[in-house]
């Protein structure tokens, strides 16, 4: 029987090239998929000769596709960084109070002002950052355990606080109106994505992606124990903090537009490591591309399958859970790759 380390993986460059080509293909298909001029895939001729279809393409589909790609890449790469730095395959980018903070912020805004996309985005982004700041400041006040353990505990505490606050807001919300809006936001979706929302997160997400990409070399070393990292000339405590903050800020920006989209940051890094191994030089960019691809596919289904929008979080969860089961059932164990 072959050992896991003996299983020959394809060359990372080929994987990246194949995934890039697949992404371009899916983008092309997604551009011509929707509810107008017909439900499903329309021919390019039908779109290009119809003024309204062209407007829909420019005003609705393109910013939405770009948002899906950007958010998918950020969530997946952030998830990858979290899993590597925490040496835990089950953490995801919303871990440090960010997801629950964003959810609390969004719900509060919906309750106070009704569902107004721009206000909901602002409020969720602000509370996501507050969640992050609280987690870090709490971790620095804890007096036991290593830095990572303290951070995990602080993240759990902050998430629990925001979660109870969210529960209170949902309890207060009118079941006929606001509760429906809150629930829909919590399920995630890109139905509000337009050029404004895309451009509002573009800079933050791009910088976050660039920093993580440039640091992919160091993530390999940072994922080892601190003594090994020191030996390699790295100050692990500072650099881990900086990477976590970068990943979390990117995530905060992303979910301020998409709402809570689960599983992308959890399952995609596993898939990436499955494809190219756990060397972050390759696994991180593969995570980015896979995340972008995964979210784009889910969103295309979400907006084109039925007359009403399907929440993105539901689709990513279905796909993610299925992939998770397949990966865990596979003989090539996942745990070995982390």
């Amino acid at each position: 029987m072959k050992n896991i380390n003996q299983i020959k993986k394809p060359k990372p460059a080929y994987v990246i090239l194949t995934l890039s080509i697949a992404t371009i293909l899916i983008i092309a298909i997604s551009l011509f998929t929707g509810r107008y001029p017909q439900a499903g895939i329309s021919s390019p001729a039908a779109i290009l000769t119809d003024n309204l279809a062209l407007k829909i393409l420019w005003i609705i589909r393109i910013p939405r596709i770009l948002s899906a790609l950007l958010i998918g890449a950020v969530l997946a790469s952030s998830g990858y960084v979290f899993q590597m730095l925490f040496a835990n395959p089950l953490v995801e980018p919303g871990f440090l109070g960010v997801s629950q903070g964003a959810a609390f912020g969004a719900a509060g805004s919906i309750l106070l002002f009704g569902y107004i996309p721009i206000l909901t985005q602002i409020s969720s982004a602000v509370f996501a950052v507050i969640g992050l700041i609280l987690s870090f400041s709490l971790a620095s006040k804890f007096h036991f355990g290593g830095w990572i353990l303290r951070l995990i505990l602080a993240g759990i505490a902050v998430s629990a606080l925001f979660s109870s606050g969210l529960g209170l807001l949902k309890y207060i919300a009118d079941p006929m109106n606001e509760l429906q809006d809150i629930t829909f936001w919590l399920l995630g979706g890109l139905w509000d994505a337009d050029w404004n929302s895309f451009l509002s997160i573009l800079f933050v997400c791009l910088i976050s992606l660039i920093i993580l990409y440039l640091y992919r070399w160091r993530i390999n070393v940072l994922s080892m124990n601190d003594r090994s990292a020191h030996a390699a000339g790295i100050s692990p405590k500072i650099e881990k903090r900086l990477l976590l903050i970068t990943a979390t800020i990117g995530t905060a920006a992303a979910i301020s537009v998409s709402g809570l989209v689960g599983w992308v940051g959890l399952i995609v890094p596993h898939l990436a490591r499955k494809l190219v191994g756990s060397d972050s030089r390759f696994a991180l960019p593969v995570s980015m591309i896979l995340g972008a691809l995964y979210l784009l596919i889910c969103d295309t289904f979400g907006r084109a399958l039925f007359a009403g929008e399907l929440p993105l979080g539901i689709l990513t969860s279905i796909g993610g859970a299925l992939l998770f089961i397949i990966l865990l059932s596979s003989r090539k164990s996942l745990g070995k790759t982390v």
Binding site: P37, I60, L112, F113, I118, Q121, F203, I211, A307
Partner: protein, 393 residues
């Protein structure tokens, strides 16, 4: 040796920039936030003169509830009612009887008690109804001449449709004062100003009658009453009271009573209240509202509850359900006037002895919706009668 690490200090300023821009992104949206309800009226004029359409057709303009000026050339031949709270918009449009046949598609209108539109628009199959989460693309695929929606949908759906070039008319209809004005504006847009006048006359004559007859009522003569929106979830019944500005609170005041919750209610939303708070208020009368289900289950529960038996309203047999037909009458749809008449009569039977609610009900559907079908009246009266429940001590 090849340098494979980027230098350490380079990441710090980048992170600060990142954090700064994330917060800046949030703050820089002030301008957009100031225009949450859409652009100002001067920026909003929408001309829908289609290519090839006769330019000498009259252009009808109206101001919607968001202050936007909407222009239509000629009469819209196809209308879509979209987004959440479709019922409110649908009921308003259906008052303009000529335009019912122009409804191309609309959202779901069954709140749980039945669907008035299954009767009113039998050709509009339930399978053709749009989900509340309908996308702009889906609506564009139907290519309507006009889209009407509750204004809370504008920022998430209406704005996209506006950008695609569709005229979107937003309505609010949340309070009695603005109601008639909004109907007037809708009439202007549809070139049905006479019909709008008729509708408003029908409303204002009923409203004026109640106001005139209650004008001499002293504050001390007014009873303290509580409207309780009741829901059940996971077997737990919860109670909510409306904000002071909502139509439910206005109905109570117009009907010559004091809403006990008015001073403590929140400003923007239903507010949950506990039984302790209800006991503290201990109102003279309690009216139970349920939008999704018949009130029967709640009335049974309260009747058998030892807690409720100590309330004054219970002792005086004054815990009643607020009436409904296809929809509960305590909400900002067209039936609010029926709710007001019923409540006024229930509170002041001597003053409003002349009002016969069943006759008013039939008259409402005749005057407002032009319905003459006697079987419909049997149905509607049956629904109304079944909705009237009182807890007898």
């Amino acid at each position: 040796m090849k340098k494979i690490f980027i230098s350490k200090p380079s990441i710090l300023p980048l992170i600060f920039i990142l954090l700064f821009f994330l917060l800046l992104t949030s703050c820089s949206s002030d301008e957009e936030a100031a225009n949450l309800n859409g652009p100002t009226s001067n920026e909003q004029t929408i001309g829908i003169l289609e290519a090839g359409e006769s330019s000498n057709e009259a252009v009808h303009q109206a101001v919607d509830s968001l202050g936007r000026v909407i222009s239509l050339s000629g009469k819209p031949a196809s209308i879509i009612i979209a987004g959440k709270a479709t019922l409110i918009a649908a009921d308003a449009l259906a008052l303009f009887t000529d335009y019912r046949s122009k409804i191309l598609a609309m959202g779901l209108t069954n709140q749980g008690l039945g669907d008035f539109y299954a009767f009113l628009l039998p050709n509009l199959l339930i399978t053709e109804r749009l989900p509340h989460t309908v996308s702009a693309e889906e609506i564009a695929g139907l290519n309507p001449d006009l889209i009407i929606m509750k204004d809370r949908n504008y920022s998430s759906l209406g704005e996209k449709l506006h950008k695609l070039g569709y005229p979107v008319f937003s309505i609010n209809l949340e309070n009695t004062d603005d109601y008639l004005q909004e109907i007037q504006e809708l009439g202007k847009l549809l070139n049905q100003e006479n019909r709008a006048d008729e509708i408003n006359l029908a409303y204002s004559s009923r409203l004026s009658y109640i106001r005139e007859n209650l004008s001499s009522l002293k504050e001390t003569q007014k009873e303290n009453i509580l409207l309780l929106y009741t829901t059940i979830s996971d077997g737990i019944t919860s109670f909510q009271v409306p904000p002071a500005s909502w139509i439910q609170t206005k109905l109570v005041k117009e009907a010559g009573a004091v809403p006990v919750w008015e001073k403590t209610a929140g400003s923007g939303n239903w507010q949950k209240v506990s039984f302790e708070q209800i006991s503290k208020w201990n109102p003279d009368r309690i009216y139970i509202i349920s939008y999704k289900t018949p009130t029967t289950i709640y009335m049974e529960e309260f009747k058998n509850s030892s807690l409720w038996q100590d309330l004054s309203a219970y002792q005086n047999n004054q815990i009643k359900s607020f009436p409904a037909d296809f929809h509960n009458w305590a909400q900002p749809d067209t039936r609010w006037i029926l709710g007001l008449q019923w409540l006024a009569k229930d509170l002041h039977p001597d003053i409003f002895e002349i009002i016969e609610i069943e006759e008013e009900l039939v008259s409402f559907y005749k005057d407002f919706y032009g319905i003459t079908d006697s079987s419909f009246f049997n149905t509607i009266l049956d629904r109304y009668r079944k909705s009237l429940l009182t807890i007898e001590k």
